[in-house]
């Protein structure tokens, strides 16, 4: 086994944990009182030897009776840059939780969001069932869908993961996940120590695909608060999309061989369709796209081929009411930016900044299209986009292999 990346204090804590069936790690700062209260409500849970690890320096007092299967244990996170975005900090915590699971020899490991919404008996049982009974190595949640939420996930992260790695997962970068012991070992192996400080994200679904482990999905009837409030879009793109592009670089040999995607087994309640109320105003989004189109042609021309530039020019001339970005254009834009990221055609921060107006253009187009549709109709629209990603994969593979020769 490779030398553990855990902090010394955490390592010594794990050595005194005794036999552990289930490790539940809270991936982020948590209120001690809330955690104790939540743990007391888990008394209906039938299992034994459960460790609940939370980031902190001090040990909480035993919250429950002596015969309780739960033990609360603090763990320390590696020092990370304070300017890191919330999901980067969560990734650092997830890595640590997986490493702890390996050290403790836990049979099942759950990494949960720090808002503790997932920490209840029912959800724990659903996760455990999927891993212990259905034989899943990685269980990713499916949250109830809203038309105008998780747009970056729906437009890039999920369809890109599906097209590249062949896994139809709805939330490849979910804040909650459960995994088997071998998956935890894989995730802890795939996490170099410096990754935490760099803000590199942990992509469990990609690691599972690379190891050919079984991935399942679990429909959960809960929602976490959006994490992007008050953050700059270019910073969000740099962190999330940049990380997805980095993963593409490291796993290029694998995803070039994958030809088609396959459905992922989904358990739990059928995800509730949440209504989104009135449609959003697309004018500011289109204005941002047009401003980019007027000013960033020089930058885009370094990344995008002439055909795409021509399409963007045409789009900038149409009436805002009928503004639409064809799926093929959007997919090729994402693929071309991934290639530019790999080739370092320009500074990566600049590259992601130049993607922002294009992304807003896609959001405007999508919002205009699904405004009158039901949540189910919006789902179908996203499915159509995901298929476009798969259909255009040969374009990515050709450009990836011969960036200079293949440039339509």
């Amino acid at each position: 086994m490779p030398k553990s990346d855990l902090e010394e204090e955490t390592l010594s804590e794990t050595q005194y944990a005794g036999p552990v069936d289930l490790l539940i790690g809270i991936a982020g700062a948590v209120n001690a009182g809330e955690l104790q209260q939540q743990v007391q409500q888990l008394q209906g849970y039938q299992g034994s030897h459960v460790v609940i690890a939370y980031p902190g320096a001090t040990e909480m007092e035993a919250p429950v009776q002596a015969e309780s299967p739960f033990r609360l244990m603090p763990y320390s996170l590696p020092a990370a840059d304070r300017s890191l975005l919330p999901w980067a900090i969560a990734s650092t915590a997830q890595r640590t939780i997986c490493a702890m699971a390996v050290e403790m020899g836990a049979k099942v490991c759950l990494s949960l969001h720090s808002d503790l919404a997932t920490l209840d008996t029912r959800h724990l049982e659903l996760f455990l069932q999927a891993i212990a009974e259905k034989g899943c190595d990685l269980v990713l949640p499916v949250y109830p869908s809203r038309k105008f939420e998780g747009l970056l996930n729906h437009s890039i992260l999920a369809p890109l993961t599906r097209a590249l790695y062949g896994q139809r997962v709805r939330f490849p970068l979910a804040p909650d996940f459960g995994c088997s012991a071998q998956m935890a070992a894989r995730l802890s192996d795939s996490s170099p120590h410096h990754a935490a400080a760099d803000g590199a994200l942990l992509w469990p679904s990609i690691q599972a695909a690379l190891s050919n482990y079984q991935v399942c999905q679990l429909s959960l009837d809960l929602q976490h608060a959006p994490q992007t409030e008050g953050l700059e879009l270019s910073a969000i793109l740099s962190s999330l999309v940049g990380s997805a592009f980095s993963e593409m670089e490291t796993s290029a040999a694998y995803w070039q061989r994958i030809r088609a995607s396959h459905p992922t087994a989904t358990f739990g309640d059928i995800g509730r369709q949440w209504n989104d109320g009135e449609p959003v105003d697309t004018k500011p989004l289109i204005d941002s796209f047009l401003l980019g189109s007027r000013n960033l042609q020089e930058v885009w021309s370094l990344v995008l081929p002439p055909v795409t530039l021509l399409e963007l020019k045409k789009m900038s001339r149409v009436d805002p009411a009928s503004f639409r970005m064809p799926d093929e254009v959007w997919v090729r834009i994402v693929y071309d930016f991934a290639l530019a990221y790999r080739l370092r055609t320009m500074n990566r921060g600049h590259l992601m900044g130049a993607l922002a107006p294009l992304y807003l253009g896609w959001v405007a187009s999508y919002a205009g299209e699904v405004a009158g549709l039901s949540p189910m109709g919006a789902e179908q629209r996203l499915e159509q986009l995901a298929k476009a990603y798969e259909e255009n994969k040969p374009y990515l593979v050709s450009r990836w292999r011969w960036p200079d020769r293949f440039n339509p």
């Binding site: 747009l151 970056l152 401003l291």
Partner: protein, 234 residues
């Protein structure tokens, strides 16, 4: 008297022709040496490009965190190295040519002057290169940030930043080459000071009413209830 004028004209013509005849072999030798070195430079650059392509130099250097292409997108490391090789040979050719010119024309002191000036030229070239690269990088940073902040004058802002860096670089290069002496410093000081003063006056006088109005508006503004964002990216 006419005869004297004629004689002096003939003498001066003779001196000029003699001087040209003395310098001509030197000039020819200089041109010949330069041509030979241009051919050598071209061959060496080609050889360097072939070797670098064979060892996949671009891919190896691009594996690092901060590479040249990130700062100057149209320059690959291979192109840069090839150009350095080419211009190094041309520079050597110029130096050899100057020495040859001096030897062939019996004009003393030229090569000593050129050799003493060479470090300044190299420094100026480095300054020019860095200034150009930094100017472009900053200009692009400002352009992209301004577009993402929805500023309508993004391009104007980026062009302003680029030219500010270019003018600063030009002044530094001229100063380094000791061309123009105090005039460059003075002109640059006046230009820069003028821009700053103009901006200060524009804000201080031109926008006085605007500033006071916006301050009043800010003071009297009721507390806004934040509107819930309908779009969430992640």
């Amino acid at each position: 008297m006419w005869q004297q004028i004629e004689e002096s004209l003939r003498d001066s013509m003779g001196r000029v022709f003699t001087k040209i005849a003395t310098l001509l072999p030197g000039i020819l030798a200089f041109v010949l040496v330069l041509l030979i070195f241009l051919v050598i430079a071209w061959l060496a650059a080609m050889l360097a490009r072939m070797v670098l392509n064979a060892v996949k130099f671009d891919e190896r250097t691009n594996a690092g965190a901060n590479t040249l292409t990130e700062w100057a997108p149209r320059q690959t490391p291979t192109i840069l190295v090839t150009r350095i090789v080419f211009w190094s040979f041309v520079m050597i050719g110029v130096l050899v040519g100057v020495s040859t010119f001096e030897a062939a024309s019996a004009e003393s002191g030229i090569s000593a002057y050129v050799f003493s000036y060479l470090p300044r030229v190299i420094g100026a070239v480095v300054l020019l290169f860095l200034g150009t690269v930094i100017g472009r990088f900053l200009s692009r940073s400002v352009l992209i940030s301004a577009v993402n902040l929805n500023l309508q004058y993004a391009r104007l802002l980026a062009t302003g930043v680029r030219w500010l860096v270019f003018v600063l670089t030009a002044a530094m290069v001229l100063d380094h080459l000791a061309i123009g002496g105090e005039i460059v410093d003075l002109a640059f000081g006046i230009l820069f000071g003028g821009i700053v003063l103009a901006l200060a006056l524009a804000v201080g006088l031109g926008s006085r009413d605007l500033v006071s109005r916006s301050l009043e508006k800010e003071a009297n503004r009721p507390i806004e209830i934040p509107v819930e964002e309908k779009l969430h990216h992640f």
